[in-house]
């Protein structure tokens, strides 16, 4: 088997915030009745994480679950485990109306790190990035300039971003542009 490669193969940029493309991450789109106990259990078994609340991401050691919509989740697991996780999930959900599909290769992931990650996001997404309004645990699907994207904060210094793989170049260009030295605003703390 050949080595799977991510869209930008780990490209990185040192701006006033650091921008990195992350390698491949296992991602599973799950659609189903989020209130069902069976599904909650299957999600927990797959990721180790509990069912997130609306617009939240719940993060455990080996995986994470993001709330995408009232009937959709995104499971984050390690890339090489995706198929077995899906198989186990499907088994656990047998007889239910649901959908679990591997989207790991359809996505690109980026990480921003530094003091001013909030303002870099606020340059390209119409989201209130103030500390009181967006924090670790929050998960936001929105627009990043001209593409759809989702992001969350791993900690106060770190934002992780998911977008479609085909526009990874654009997203990277956008983030680099926003993080270019000289563009500091100094608005969030």
């Amino acid at each position: 088997m050949s080595n799977p490669v991510s869209a930008l193969q780990g490209a990185a940029y040192d701006g006033y915030v650091k921008v990195e493309e992350l390698g491949l991450r296992g991602m599973i789109t799950v659609r189903g009745n989020l209130a069902s106990t069976k599904l909650k259990n299957a999600v927990k078994a797959a990721t180790g994480a509990a069912m997130p609340k609306q617009r939240q991401i719940s993060i455990a050691d080996e995986g994470a679950v993001a709330w995408m919509s009232p009937d959709e989740l995104l499971l984050l697991v390690s890339y090489d485990k995706v198929n077995e996780v899906i198989a186990a999930f499907e088994e656990a959900m047998a007889g239910q109306h649901f959908l679990a599909v591997n989207v790991s290769d359809a996505r690109a992931m980026f990480r921003l790190s530094g003091d001013k990650v909030r303002e870099v996001i606020a340059k390209i997404s119409p989201v209130d990035m103030a500390q009181d309004e967006f924090n670790t645990g929050d998960f936001r699907r929105t627009r990043m300039a001209q593409i759809p994207a989702a992001f969350w904060m791993a900690d106060e210094q770190t934002v992780e971003i998911i977008c479609f793989r085909s526009v990874a170049d654009y997203a990277y260009g956008l983030l680099k542009d926003a993080a270019e030295p000289g563009g500091e605003i100094g608005i969030f703390g």
Partner: protein, 109 residues
């Protein structure tokens, strides 16, 4: 530049996250319908000056379709509600009535 609240994900976001989808509560007419019914279904629009009920999709967000009660002259948004309903929910009607007593829209009032 509108702001709308998506009733599915609870987010209040600006217009650029959404995509407008025209008049709401349109009943579909398929084979067997009259020429008049079918024409009205596809083309006749209320296009009111004032209270309007319309469809939106949270396109750059949770992807769900919802309805908004909005005024096309003042742009006030009276409320948003899910698309899985044929009727206008009573609480939305009440919200509109509180601001625009005696309103009517198509067959609704």
């Amino acid at each position: 530049m509108l702001i709308l609240e998506c009733p599915y994900c609870g987010v209040t976001a600006e217009e650029t996250e959404f995509h407008g989808g025209g008049e709401a509560h349109i009943k579909r007419y398929g084979p067997g319908s009259t020429e008049e019914e079918f024409n009205n279904y596809l083309f006749a629009k209320v296009n009111p000056k004032g209270v309007h009920f319309e469809r939106w999709r949270h396109a750059n967000g949770c992807g769900k379709w919802f309805h908004a009660a909005r005024n096309t002259v003042t742009l006030e948004v009276y409320g948003t509600y899910t698309a899985q309903t044929s009727d206008i929910p009573q609480d939305i009607k009440d919200k509109v009535s509180a601001k625009v007593p005696g309103w009517s829209w198509r067959e609704f009032e």
